[in-house]
């Protein structure tokens, strides 16, 4: 065996050093592609009473969520609500009381009657504190610049539905899209298994010209059904249950859920050809629904329970800018917004606002439990509302066309939900038609219901 020379020894030593550095670097790259750091930290939950009835007492309740302590006891919290009658002016500070029951939020403040019953409503925000470490959180994050706004329901149109009779669904007027499960053009991606449940295309939207755009996130693409045919456009998305909106001009907005690799929700904006424009983290931790607003995409978020803009005129807004523009309702053209509040088991309150004044309002009650509101949008002089009604083992959607006098039109729609989609992405309103995203064992469908013909 030949003795190693100096050059060989030097080369070996250099190899070891370079190799160790290289190995660690490779592992670090791998680790860096894992989840971005983000800490849950101090959190809160609060359901704002955005629409109140005259004379209704108002108690604001908050749950304060801290890091768990090894004693297993709840958070040692405190805080105050800054509240005012009406929608402008100085706030008055009310200390939160700590109660024995946390089922609706352990920390509460009863509003003085002169504030709760103000004809202009009231507005407020809370500063909540973990007394163990002094950390604070403001809810909503916009604080005094974008407080919770509550509006009184005056001259409300009352609609009592009684008990719902299942099985009398309206058939769609037209099946616009019928796609088998698969990955070819014109097919729709399906993920999951019988054991874990199935996930299909998570959302869709309909352009003014009737083009149906489907977010086929399982296949990483958006497919558009037009009179000229079907066009597939690849987009770089995570594959999670995302919401989707088609902006005028063809921009594609995809609202991603948190995931293992991206623990906070992100809105991704794509050009019509699928190339990325920007990606922006949301202000809040959780989202319910994405919509195309008058100046850009808006998202209904938690814990603020507000609609927050994520971009304006094509440019993404930083998180603080989003929070600073929070509103209680979804914005529409002409400065109008629609405010929704589901109350208790079977009550829905709705109002159309201009500024902070309710122009029209409705209160719908049902003896059959009411579920989530999928859609509440103005349509000419009407308001179109789609919401779920359910029992323990059945569910259907109910469609209401409302005006000041009450129900103009209503019908039930079968909930075709074999595969999971984004939570409030089952219906879209375009022109005078309502579109439903549905799924069965054999594939996906988009059906159209024309609203102009009273039934």
């Amino acid at each position: 065996m030949r003795r190693p020379g100096t050059r060989s020894l030097a080369g070996g030593a250099a190899g070891i050093i370079a190799g160790v550095i290289g190995g660690i670097a490779l592992s670090s790259v791998s680790a860096a592609s894992g989840p971005a750091r983000a800490a849950p930290g101090l959190d809160a939950v609060h359901v704002p009473p955005v629409l109140t009835r005259p004379g209704e007492p108002v108690t604001l309740r908050y749950a304060i969520v801290c890091a768990p302590s090894d004693d297993g006891e709840p958070c040692d919290g405190a805080g105050s609500v800054h509240v005012r009658a009406g929608q402008s002016g100085a706030f008055e500070e009310l200390a939160l009381k700590r109660g024995e029951d946390s089922s609706e939020g352990r920390y509460s403040a009863d509003l003085p009657p002169e504030i709760a019953s103000s004809r202009a409503g009231f507005s407020y925000y809370a500063i909540l504190r973990d007394r163990s470490d002094g950390a604070t959180i403001t809810v909503p994050a916009g604080g005094a610049d974008a407080p919770q706004r509550s509006v009184p329901l005056r001259n409300v149109t009352e609609i009592a539905l009684g008990a719902h009779v299942f099985g009398h669904d309206r058939a769609p007027d037209t099946r616009v899209v019928a796609a088998a499960w698969g990955s070819g053009v014109g097919e729709a991606g399906l993920a999951g298994s019988r054991e874990l449940g199935f996930v299909g295309p998570s959302s869709f939207d309909v352009a003014a010209d009737g083009t149906v755009a489907l977010l086929d996130q399982v296949n990483g693409r958006v497919q558009r059904w037009t009179p000229a045919g079907i066009k597939a456009t690849n987009v770089e998305v995570s594959g999670g249950l995302a919401d989707f909106a088609l902006e005028p001009g063809g921009v594609l907005d995809v609202l991603e859920p948190p995931s293992r690799t991206t623990p906070a929700p992100v809105l991704r904006s794509f050009r019509g050809d699928g190339t990325p424009r920007w990606a922006q983290r949301l202000s809040d931790r959780t989202w319910a629904k994405l919509a195309a607003g008058p100046t850009g995409p808006v998202v209904q978020q938690q814990p603020s329970e507000q609609w927050l803009p994520v971009s304006e005129h094509g440019a993404a807004l930083a998180r603080a800018e989003q929070a600073g523009d929070g509103r209680p309702g979804r914005p529409f053209a002409g400065g109008r917004e629609v405010v929704v509040e589901r109350v208790g088991v079977g009550e829905l309150r709705l109002a159309e606002l201009s500024g902070d004044v309710a122009l029209r309002s409705w209160r719908i009650t049902s003896t059959t439990p009411l579920g989530e509101v999928q859609l509440a949008e103005p349509h000419g002089s009407h308001l179109v509302v789609v919401m779920k009604t359910y029992t323990e083992d059945r569910s259907e959607y109910r469609v209401f066309v409302l005006d000041r006098s009450g129900l103009v039109n209503s019908f039930a729609v079968e909930s075709l939900e074999w595969a999971e989609s984004a939570p409030l992405a089952r219906f879209r309103l375009a022109g005078s038609s309502l579109y439903r995203l549905g799924s069965t064992r054999t594939g996906l469908s988009v059906d159209r219901f024309d609203l102009e013909v009273p039934r």
Binding site: A31, P35, G72, P74, C75, A288, Q302, Y390, L424
Partner: protein, 202 residues
């Protein structure tokens, strides 16, 4: 040059393997100690416990996490408990959050630290059926904070109801989803039922 290349290659493999072991350091800290018996369980303490598990990953059949706000082993094989990935699965997260016993006939309250590796005896389907002394079925329309909605394949706990009629749900749903709070409409979904733990004390 030959010596450099050979030793470089060996060192890359060894250093990479050693660094990969770092992913499993959290697993080395998982334990099988006894839980702490408690007289109380409040809904907001349960909210805090489940909320702190956010970002800690998902492991089918698992139940150990470490509060470092990231999934220490994000690329573990799905559906394989022997992968020792970080995080609970849906029923494991619920079991630990609800402070249940590994004996299904006990309805006492047992605080499990995050690093205590325990899944508990219940599947999502068991919870849905109210199986086990601490569990019972509730009407979906009346299910409240930190009660849960369960199907035959999944369970998620109600963090809080929401304005639009859905719920903020804290859940460990899948490997790619991790553990987090999502807006869900399980309440009105016929494949889900309402389930709760007996004995909330506040």
């Amino acid at each position: 040059m030959k010596a450099f290349l050979v030793t470089f290659g060996v060192a890359v493999v060894l250093a990479g393997a050693a660094s990969a072991q770092a992913y499993h350091r959290f697993w080395a800290n998982c334990d099988y100690g006894a839980p702490t018996f408690m007289t109380t369980i409040t809904r907001d303490a349960a909210q805090s416990y489940a909320n702190a598990a956010r970002y800690e990953g998902y492991q089918w059949g698992g139940g150990c996490w470490n509060y470092d706000d990231s999934d220490s082993y994000p690329n573990d094989a799905p559906g394989d408990p022997s992968a020792h990935g970080e995080g609970g699965d849906c029923s494991g997260l619920t079991f630990k959050t609800w402070r249940e016993s590994t004996d299904d006939w006990r309805d006492g309250r047992y605080y499990w630290r995050a690093l205590r590796n325990v899944h508990g005896p219940y599947t999502a389907g068991d919870f849905k059926n109210g199986f086990g002394a601490p569990n019972h079925v509730v009407g979906k329309s009346t299910a409240g904070v930190m009660d849960a909605f369960a199907s035959s394949t999944h369970i998620g706990m109600i963090f809080m109801r929401s304005l639009y009629g859905g719920d903020q749900i804290v859940e460990a749903k899948c490997e790619a989803c991790g553990t987090n709070i999502f807006y869900r409409t399980y309440r009105s979904d016929p494949s889900y039922g309402g389930v709760a733990r007996w004995g909330w004390t506040g």
